[in-house]
């Protein structure tokens, strides 16, 4: 059940009040009208996988060139012990990097909007960090930092933090100017203006940045692992892919790939869900059109 705001008859009030949250039939907690949109891509996926499996079998493609989806699934189950450990390591780095990106990105954005000079003098360096390919500086970072997990974390963070920083700065600066005037009229101090006006105004922008950064943190972690290329107990999915390719265990490579893509999709869905929950009552991006 959604909260419903129903029009109440009044004297002197416009009669144009409209009921906003009409109740809709739900199947498994999801509104009935969204089911076709969910099922269509699933159907396309199943058809694609079936076609893949059939082609591989008909043309008898060897599994070290292209394994079929069923073999990949089988390998995923068989090698779950090794792969899940690697997945966990990659995800840990991804999430740590994302949390660091959010904290540092938002903190820097707030700092930058406090002083134009600070932004002017520091922002170009944030851009430099962003445009330098992580592959090219990862070896340096690994040499300098020493600790492998920390180096990977730094690499993933470098890739992930910029969208959060630049989006949050944009959001903090995009509060309605007349609302800023109004806060000034009521003598609001910096902290009040930040808390009650600028941060809420920046929320949709920040969440847009978070969606991008979630995927980038994963990519950053995987790329850095490739560059590091070391084995041992700190080896994530990227290392498992490298290892499988040396040993020509192509089905296992695909299984690791499935896990990476799956994680990316899960992160995207999770950040989208967070954005939807936070914005659904008020932001145009999250509310349904009513015509």
């Amino acid at each position: 059940m959604t909260d419903s705001v129903l029009p109440v008859a009044h004297d002197g009030t416009d009669a144009e009040a409209r009921p906003v949250f009409a109740q809709e039939r739900r199947i498994l907690g999801v509104p009935a009208s969204t089911w076709p949109g969910t099922l269509a891509p699933v159907a396309v996926g199943i058809l694609g996988l079936a076609a893949w499996e059939i082609l591989v079998r008909v043309y008898a493609v060897p599994s070290y060139i292209l394994p079929g989806p069923l073999l990949i699934a089988q390998t995923l189950v068989q090698d779950w012990g090794t792969l899940s450990g690697a997945l966990w390591i990659t995800l840990r780095i991804t999430f740590a990097a994302l949390i660091a990106a959010v904290t540092i990105g938002v903190a820097l954005a707030i700092l930058f909007t406090q002083s134009k000079w600070l932004e002017k003098s520091l922002f170009p360096y944030a851009v430099v960090l962003q445009v330098t390919p992580v592959v090219s500086i990862a070896p340096l970072i690994i040499i300098w930092v020493g600790d492998l997990t920390l180096s990977l974390l730094i690499c993933a963070w470098l890739v992930a933090f910029f969208p959060i920083l630049s989006n949050t700065i944009l959001g903090l600066n995009s509060a309605d100017h007349n609302l800023v005037n109004l806060f000034q009229l009521y003598g609001a101090n910096r902290w009040q203006t930040m808390r009650y006006l600028k941060l809420p105004a920046a929320l949709p922008y920040f969440l847009g940045g978070l969606k991008i950064s979630g995927g980038l943190a994963l990519i950053g972690a995987v790329v850095a692992e490739f560059v590091a290329g070391s084995g041992g107990n700190a080896s994530g999915l990227a290392y498992r892919i490298l290892e499988a390719s040396y040993q020509l265990k192509i089905p296992r490579m695909f299984a690791a790939l499935v896990l990476i893509s799956g994680s990316g999709i899960a992160i995207f869905l999770a950040t989208s869900a967070i954005a939807h929950l936070l914005l659904r009552r008020w932001h145009e991006s999250a509310v349904k059109r009513e015509n």
Binding site: G12, N181, L185, A201, R281, H283
Partner: protein, 267 residues
């Protein structure tokens, strides 16, 4: 039936706001306001009437303290300074757009001025609810701005401006974007609120009819540069309802204001 007269001289008591020789030149060289002298008396309903570009909004913003005059002064003879050395203007401001925070409910929007003045939440909430009821929005406390119609959003905006019980309410063409019927309703309700609470009301408009039906005094302004052309008294009793708006007296007042405005534009 009495004809409106052109006022000269100042009211006997001290005015709430004294605008003396005020000019405003913007950075790009535009002279938006030139040498305006105007006293706003306690409790009166004044309209600033003029074509677009006559500096009426700029003048209103300067009265509010948003932007300082380039020359002249705006004094508040009866007003004190707060501990931080700021003038306690004690005003409410209604913009042309409702200017509500889209992420906050109606009641949270109305509460905001009180929250910024560090009032405790239960008290602020009670006063905001009371104010929402006064503007006819009882039952809409938890509605978000996007769930409200244009007229209702404007009502929330007025409630927010009045929740601090200000001595003066400044309105910058607040109903210009609304349809005719909604505008009439809001005009009536605004007058009722003013009649009961007797704050000073300054209403910027480019509508002759709106200024005549609302105010006790119409300050007609001319454009380029913005300056005061005439100060008309609207000598008609309140409440002014539909009956007044169809009377011969109203038509006569409108004609006088209209002719003055025409002269102002022709200059």
């Amino acid at each position: 039936m009495s004809a409106p007269l052109v006022l000269d001289g100042t009211p006997a008591t001290r005015p709430l706001v004294r605008i003396a020789g005020v000019s405003k030149q913007f950075g790009n060289g535009t002279l938006a306001v030139r040498d305006v002298n105007l006293d706003l008396a306690q409790g009166e309903f004044v309209s600033l009437l003029g074509p677009s570009g006559c500096g009426k909004s700029t003048l209103l913003r300067m009265v509010a303290g948003l932007g300082a005059p380039s020359a002249g002064s705006i004094d508040w003879p009866t007003t004190t300074y707060d501990s931080a050395g700021r003038l306690e203007r004690d005003l409410g401001f209604v913009f042309q757009d409702p200017t509500l925070m889209p992420w906050a409910t109606a009641i949270a929007n109305v509460m905001m001025p009180l929250v910024l003045k560090s009032m405790r939440k239960p008290e602020a909430e009670a006063r905001a609810a009371e104010m929402l009821a006064l503007v006819g929005l009882k039952g809409f406390e938890k509605a978000y701005p996007r769930e409200l119609s244009g007229g209702m959003k404007m009502r929330v905006s007025i409630a927010r401006a009045l929740v601090t019980r200000p001595r003066i309410l400044l309105m910058d063409e607040p109903f210009a974007a609304l349809d005719e019927i909604t505008r009439h309703r809001l005009n009536d309700d605004l007058l009722a609120l003013w009649w009961q609470n007797r704050f000073t009301a300054v209403f910027v408009t480019h509508s002759v009819f709106e200024s005549v039906s609302l105010s006790q005094r119409i300050v007609v302004m001319a454009a380029r540069p913005g300056r005061v052309m005439a100060d008309l008294e609207v000598d008609a009793p309140y409440p002014r309802d539909d009956l007044f708006r169809t009377s011969a007296e109203y038509a006569h007042l409108c004609r006088v204001a209209s002719e003055t405005l025409k002269k102002a534009i022709a200059l």
